[in-house]
């Protein structure tokens, strides 16, 4: 099973869409709220060199934003 981490903020719609996508496909993920978790925010910035959410880490492959077709490829192998 792939190790999936999503860095999100509570008000971010694209984060919700990404989580919805994981839930619908029965995919487990770990979530960090970077609005509050400063360490996770640093991790996210270091991984993505970006200041925007969501950042999704699929086994070390980094996705910025929610792109359904890219995630389908990476996660479901479609």
């Amino acid at each position: 099973m792939k190790n999936i981490i999503i860095y999100s903020t509570p008000t971010c719609v694209y984060c919700k869409m990404a989580k919805d996508f994981f839930q619908k496909n029965n995919i487990q993920y770990k979530e960090f709220n970077v609005a509050e978790d400063e360490k996770a925010r640093e991790d996210m910035i270091n991984k993505s060199h970006q200041l925007g959410v969501p950042v999704i880490d699929v086994d070390g492959e980094i996705f910025v934003g929610f792109n359904r077709s890219e995630l389908e490829k990476a996660v479901l192998g479609k």
């Binding site: 903020t9 719609v13 694209y14 609005a35 959410v53 910025v64 359904r68």
Partner: protein
């Protein structure tokens, strides 16, 4: 061949989809997501029949309503990239490479965010340059940010930043804010916020991340530099109509000109409504209503065509 292909998944697209499905027209709807521009709104309070709903929930409600008619309309989660005139109708090409042949097209693609088009903006997109304030404002905890644009969207971006940023500059091109008076008061009352008028943003500075912003003070005729980590761009919208360039008539704002009575465009067989059209007021409820108006007119067009063996104007 379809009777109608609807392009767009905002309130207009879904309203049109529900109506064409109920009319049992042979139809398809192409949209890459549902909810439209309100998707990123924290709280929508003016969608009639719903006191308060988040943009995300609104998008889900719209999609559910449309999918209730899934047996009567082909729903394509895809993006329309081209519409071409054919001998007896149109061909709509999608990003995934599908081609949909149809007698008529209803364009309900709304608009997307206008960019500043200044050096540094593209390079630093997502590295301090922000287009979704509700998403990314929390990342500017203990940081300094500027909001460009003094309309409602700009004022709301300031509100999104207030709980997090230590200092917020609001840059407005003209000499007055345009957003709601209530929001203006809230912002003016906060010492963290400095409002700068007659400011024309000229450059966003930074290497890996945003480190500053340059603007022209049009009153004093000088260039000023601000040190900051975030630039929130809230300067209005541009219609999503590139895929029908050359096919329909546009006004100088790039909006598709549509007859307010029928929503017909200058190209027979193509209709448009909502924010992509030259409608005077850009509102979810208006877009939905105008899209339905278009569907009824398309239905008349199709019926007339089948009863007379050809539509002549």
């Amino acid at each position: 061949m379809y009777d109608v292909v609807i392009i767009g998944g905002g309130p207009a697209g879904v309203a049109a989809g529900v109506y064409v499905a109920r009319k049992k027209m042979k139809s398809a709807l192409v949209a890459d997501s549902f909810g439209g521009q309100s998707l990123v709104s924290a709280d929508v309070q003016n969608w009639v029949g719903t006191k308060s709903v988040s943009g995300f929930e609104l998008g889900k409600m719209l999609e559910e309503h449309l999918r209730a008619y899934e047996s009567d309309i082909d729903i394509k989660i895809d993006l329309a990239v081209k519409v071409e005139k054919k001998k007896d109708g149109f061909a709509v090409t999608t990003k995934s490479g599908e081609t949909l042949e149809t007698k008529t097209v209803l364009i309900l693609t709304g608009s997307s965010r206008r960019k500043l088009n200044v050096p540094g903006e593209k390079e630093l997109d997502g590295k301090g340059v922000v287009y979704c304030s509700t998403c990314d404002a929390p990342l500017f905890h203990k940081k300094t940010a500027a909001v460009i644009g003094g309309g409602n969207a700009g004022l709301e971006a300031v509100l999104d930043l207030l709980p997090y940023a230590t200092k917020i500059y609001l840059l407005e091109y003209s000499d007055a804010l345009k957003g709601d008076a209530v929001t203006q008061e809230k912002i003016r009352a906060d010492k963290k916020v400095t409002i700068i008028f007659k400011a024309k943003t000229t450059k966003i500075l930074g290497d890996k991340f945003v480190t500053g912003l340059q603007y022209e003070d049009m009153n004093a005729g000088k260039t000023v530099e601000l040190k900051l980590e975030g630039v929130f761009v809230e300067i209005g919208a541009i219609p999503n109509a590139d895929f029908v360039k050359g096919l329909v008539g546009f006004n100088k704002f790039g909006e598709i000109i549509a007859d307010p009575k029928t929503q017909q465009t200058s190209q027979p067989g193509i209709w448009a409504a909502g924010d992509v059209s030259d409608v005077l007021y850009k509102q979810n409820n208006i877009s939905a209503g105008d899209a339905i108006k278009a569907v009824l007119n398309i239905s008349d067009f199709i019926n007339k065509e089948s009863s007379t063996g050809g539509y002549t104007k």
